[in-house]
């Protein structure tokens, strides 16, 4: 059952070709202070590639995760005090809440890439790899898609 236009062996290879392709950057939104948020404005370059609600949903979810990481509440205070009491040695055996959330974000981005973005010829880069400055979306070359379409036609003719 063919439901997606094409697939690929390795996202790694796609990134190689993607580095020459166009990139769209989502900058940080500082209207809430120094907390980590990204602008949810839909870039015009993506209009033909992905539906707006899907995109906005992803970015909003990322913002929620970052807010969760930086949230100052009972748990983070407890962690801070405990760390201070143990002279911060406790971080040798346990990772901070922030790091745990960052890992969760990494998994989320990977899942979004696999399910939604890669089939549409896009790749999201985890902001942590760009120093939390931008969410980078790579627009992959459309060459693959054209070649694929030609192949399906050939196959169709073969079957007949």
């Amino acid at each position: 059952e063919i439901s997606a236009p094409w697939t690929f062996h390795n996202l790694q290879e796609l990134r190689h070709s993607a580095s020459l392709a166009n990139k769209v950057f989502l900058q940080r939104d500082y209207s809430d202070g120094t907390t980590c948020r990204f602008q949810t404005k839909f870039p015009s370059e993506l209009e033909s590639r992905i539906e707006r609600p899907l995109f906005e949903d992803t970015v909003k979810r990322l913002n929620i995760y970052y807010a969760e990481a930086e949230k100052m509440g009972g748990q983070s205070y407890l962690e801070g005090c405990l760390a201070c009491a143990t002279a911060y040695l406790i971080f040798l055996c346990m990772e901070t809440r922030y790091e745990k959330v960052l890992k969760k974000i990494g998994r989320y981005i990977q899942e979004q890439n696999e399910k939604i973005y890669a089939p549409r010829g896009l790749l999201i880069t985890d902001p942590i790899e760009r120093g939390m400055r931008v969410v980078s979306l790579q627009l992959l070359l459309l060459l693959c898609v054209c070649v694929c379409e030609r192949e399906t036609d050939k196959e169709k003719h073969k079957d007949r």
Partner: protein
Amino acid sequence: MLHLRVAEPMRECEYSQISTRSSTPMETPYKKRTPKRRKWQAFPGRNKFFCNGRIMMARQTGVFYLTLVLILVTSGLFFAFDCPFLSMQITPAIPVIGGVLFVFVLGTLFRTSFSDPGVLPRATPDEAADLERQIDVANGSSSGYRPPPRTREVVINGQTVKLKYCFTCKIFRPPRASHCSLCDNCVERFDHHCPWVGNCVGKRNYRFFYMFILSLSFLTIFIFAFVITHVILRSHRYGFLNTLKDSPASVLEVVVCFFSVWSIVGLSGFHTYLISSNQTTNEDIKGSWSSKRGKGNYNPYSHGNVFTNCCAALCGPLPPSLIDRRGFVQSDTPQPIPPTNGITMYGSTQSQSHMAAATPLLQSEPVILTDEAFLPGRTSLGGPCSGALPLGGHPTPPTSTPNLSCDNDMLPLRNEQSDGLRHHHTDGGHHHFLTPEEAPSPPGMLPCGSPLGHSHTIQGFYNPASQDSLHEDSVRGLVKLSSV
């Protein structure tokens, strides 16, 4: 040849695990086998790294060693000369408490000095190009004269805050971030550059710095009080002169502690005030949020009450380091452009504004980068940290420099004689520091001239040949997509 397939789940044999983190670069016969370098070895800022990237400090560490020596010597003398008498005459709890304070002071000092203060990594060439395009669109392309300083305005909690563009790092600085010209890095929530700890004080190590000066205040007062007690008690029994003969170290300790107490305790008080109002030293000195500037001027970052501000600063979540010091350099990922010569960079950006190229800055760089020799004695100290830490350069005059940026023409360091541990930012009237608003010259021109300029241009692994091989790889990548 390419097949059409469904994007199946990962169980399919030819579908390898997708990772958005690039692991190893694709090996092709065209690529030269270069030895793997860690990212700290290619770090563009002016920092020193030890223990294979685990420890990160500023370039000039002479004053840090002075701090360390003063603390060790004074405490050592206290434990050796005064504690035996005091523990016998009063209580053995005195050396125990002293010991705990001493360990805490050293621990927080090392944590402040050795950790990443919150350095913002520089923009990759793609990002820089994208920002340049946006700025040119906003300003309207103009040639012939220098465009006005690039700023963006954002409203935070009702206050209008200006975000400045950093020419060195090629980013718009987040609010409260500042560029330290001594370390040549943009640092988040930049407080000041402290020569006494040999590092910048920023978002990630501010709490350790505060703990350090607070515990050092207690330690200094503790030692001072008990040395005086010791001298007095001993004098009652054996006479004053005999006491001085038996325990000469006490005099030295008293002198050091006396001069330290004023400055350290004063500094602790100052930073307690800063924490409770959620300001940085930088902001306080510039008077960014003082009511003198205007009626409606207030601090948008403050949480409202003192308790929340303190909790946020000291017990809030600790963000991880954004610069991956110990990771390996990937030759296929875009590396940030090191600043070479201010004029060249600026010239190239001017011409690029008329070009529609996606990554103009990439093409303009190779001329400068390829032939730079790897200068020895740079920051790449790969030896084990058990070796002697080299004394770096000459000690800077013991002033702290809370607000410096590349835009300054000269570093406004005050050359004062100092005895003991003294910080100068406790004084109120520090207004001779040049602020970044003045003279927006391209800060690629380092104010100190000197050999510091060379250290930026070392990017031996990044050359135009890799650009071509990248192109080859991409073509191969597309071809490889063809399945069995």
